[in-house]
Symmetry: D2
Subunit: 296 residues, 4 copies
């Protein structure tokens, strides 16, 4: 038996970049704003640094951070595009880097009325992108998180198996609420990113709202399917949907009824529904997805 190095990667995480564009269009007074958190992860020929402390092949995480800021000088554009530029650069410029993955969170801001350079941060969802390049293929996964949605009716839950530990009452009317984390893989690394994001987001939201739901699993599948039906450029959708339970409060001890109007919003525990929806003819692309902790 010998001890050996397994899968590994390293990089600079959570580089906070704000890019102001000062001369957008005809109006020199009018600014645009892009607020990003960028994380880089590189993999490659890193055995010596792990086993012998030899850093000759380690592009430092400080250099990675500098590169993010320097590349922003030329503008950021759509985050998928910015991620691809960075990922290609790291692999193309460093022979020891065999794979680069760049994850970007975009925090949305809204212009204050017609003010030329004043903005309020929109706290709604965070738009995300992951761009991966291994020297040959490039992959792009777009997505969002923290999109909190609620249907106050049109949700039932019944017909489930009952065992010794089952006490839950069946219901024909409940609140269904969740905080959507969704990621969708593009079939090719070449898309109209802004239009694709807007369309995918709309598909998710509309499917959530107009699905009469018998389970959050059913809603998840409807959301993923809707994206695939509408967006030919998307090959696969992965969703993680916590079930944010809203329990009707029993007001009968106070002589009151509660016709589905007064709810306790619970924190923990919560249901967690996770699933993928894919095209049956789309080849899988495991490289496209983050090396999550367990996926190393």
């Amino acid at each position: 038996m010998a001890v050996v190095l397994g899968a590994n990667q390293y990089g600079k995480a959570e580089v906070r970049l704000v890019r102001v564009t000062r001369d957008s269009g005809d109006d020199a007074e009018r600014h645009e704003l892009s607020d990003l958190t960028v994380s880089v992860a590189l993999a490659g020929d890193l055995a010596d640094t792990h086993t012998a402390g030899d850093n000759a092949k380690v592009l430092t995480t400080d250099t990675q951070k500098n590169t993010v800021y320097a590349f922003a000088r030329d503008g950021v554009g759509e985050i998928e595009e910015f991620g691809l530029r960075l990922a290609r650069h790291f692999v193309d410029s460093q022979p020891s880097v065999h794979r680069a993955r760049v994850r970007i969170d975009q925090h949305a801001w809204e212009r204050l009325g017609s003010a030329p350079h004043s903005f309020a941060r929109s706290g709604r969802e965070i738009r995300t992108a992951t761009a991966t390049f291994d020297g040959e293929a490039a992959h792009v996964v777009s997505g969002l998180r923290d999109l909190v949605l609620m249907n106050t009716t049109d949700s039932e839950f019944w017909g489930y198996p009952k065992d010794r530990y089952t006490t839950l009452a069946e219901t024909k009317d409940r609140i269904l609420a969740t905080a959507v984390t969704a990621r969708w893989r593009h079939a090719s690394p070449d898309s109209d990113w802004a239009e694709s994001y807007a369309g995918s987001r709309t598909a998710l939201v509309e499917a959530f709202a107009d699905t009469y739901s018998f389970s959050l699993q059913q809603t998840l599948y409807a959301m993923g399917s809707r994206v695939l039906e509408r967006r030919p450029e998307i090959a696969e959708v992965r969703l993680s949907l916590p079930n944010r339970h809203h329990f009707p409060v029993d007001l009968s001890p106070y002589g009151l009824d509660n016709p589905g109007e007064v709810f306790h919003a619970a924190d923990r525990p919560y249901g967690l529904i996770e699933g993928a929806v894919t095209r049956d003819d789309a080849p899988p692309a495991p490289l496209a997805w983050d090396l999550a902790e367990g996926g190393l």
Copy 2:
């Protein structure tokens, strides 16, 4: 010397209430939604419970929670109104309770298009209200927090004293960004709460956007003044404005200039600017404000 009990209060904190209104207006299908976090704090004749373990005068925090849900059965309305109803109830119904303070956070939701009962949580600011009643006078403080604003120019900072430890360069153009916490005290506990909130919020945002700023202190004062100038029902405004520093990145090592376009958004440390703006003829009302930890 003897040990004595000083100021004290107790209550149920962070009751999570979601209230659905199912028959709003003519359309029985159309729901409305109110999402609140309610905290109650009671003070009064509580010496015996502290010193002798006698709970005969302790309205339990569990009962307080139940009361919040029960009162919601009749509707919530504006949070200032709901807070006042609760505060008056606790003092009026319990002889041992001499003062009740009810703090409410309201989490905003937006309807999804024209959907009758589907909503997305708006992550922008949280609206707040504190209602206090001591058996005689009622006070209301409205407010907001987590409203993140940015001006990408029209901000200078120079002319400050230099001592041995000063290294900061003066600037004639910088980003000014903050996360506004603001609270404003109503002169009387009787107002058009919705209209007053909307008007005060607009005053704060507009003053932030249109003030050419030489310091965040100046912007703070402009924001508070604007509320008082526009809203005769408001007697006092208190603001807490963290200075969310955005530092221009030095790109010169890479042979690039940076004409105010690429910024590092820093986390810590941050400046923190706090101040009150009042009318000179408004009598102070310390009871209106939260007993903060240090204020006991």
Copy 3:
């Protein structure tokens, strides 16, 4: 009516300082470590900066940060002492600064065995200090927060009033758990800070553990009293104790009893018990305490 500036302060918040001492005692190899978060708040003659954008009297928050690091060059020592040094410096060196308040959080680390320069962060409580100087008097408040304590028995709760909204069952045996935030004011700004902290912390913990409790209020008073009884240098104690509810789970639907052994640890809502315990002959010192938001 005119709009006027009310109470105000400003400063640099959350300066993260780690101070290594390399030559502690006889062993040049042995390091000591101090990990602090320092926040400065200054008040004084600041009307012009608010109303006219004149910064001639504004010692910048950047300079305040630099001063914290520069003063650390001479060593940090006990945080009360370090806070006093800084507070006196700001008032004594800047005529426009009339009051300085320095708040420090100390994050504890423990040496790894007998290793000379290796440490693990102790996640237990954070030690806190607030030093205030107004040019004449200096005040020191020591404290701690995030000290999570639990008694698994010796706690009852009964005898409370029942109204229409009361459903809570009385109990002769429950878990009592809390996360202690405590602050205690020293009668003079001159103490053996390390010994005083250790003794006050022990008093709080022992009083929590050995008080047979009929309410968390009673436990709070016992904790505050114990500090005052043991520590003559302390004039006043303020405590904020969230009641971290642990509800016994009803296992009867599964044919099981639950003799006080299986509990659900709830997040929200929670009871919140706040109170001060003082000496009857100690003059109050409001200046010693933080200007909390509502206290401006």
Copy 4:
């Protein structure tokens, strides 16, 4: 092309369980305490619920929660054992459940002196376990997270490649600090869990402390190797080590030197080093690891 359901799982997340043992050993007064957060994830024959809203095969997450509490009635023991009991139960009792994964976080408490039933929460690391059962094989991964370690010297970083964007100065002496997340897979689901955890934790900590480090990658490999060398029952170790940068403060503008004593502890960005260390003869066991988001 058809839309199809991909990998999926569901379950109750973050069940907060506190288990008190009242009759530990000879002393009926002496209590023991176990504080767990339990998350269940089930996979199996769930196509109908996703595509047709048929819940006949959905063991509800509420039932899962009830099961956790009911099983705790018989005692919890080591978290690996408790996880295995639960995972086997779900698969063995529900034909439609083909795989169960139970993740448990254990929050440590320490007895207050010799008090029989009083405890303080130890804020140090959280102990973790993941037990997985698919009807045939059972896998156990133990671990910890939030173990914050620091070496104040014996760390160098130099010899790395320089490109256009490199500005970092090489150093022969720096602080090395990290917050360890580690997970290690047991070769068989049958171990002395308590002894194994203690030994693995010690191996990690000692390797961190006594490795003279030329990179955090090198330290990571030393930590993983140490576990495998000492613990024959462990087949694989996965580590995620954020590099918590501590930058020496330049005090020269104030006429002061800084011989490695005054540091700024930075928040973001941070390096992130991730890697696996394995035995070359250990068969991989992907089922053992969490289905992370990207791993579906």
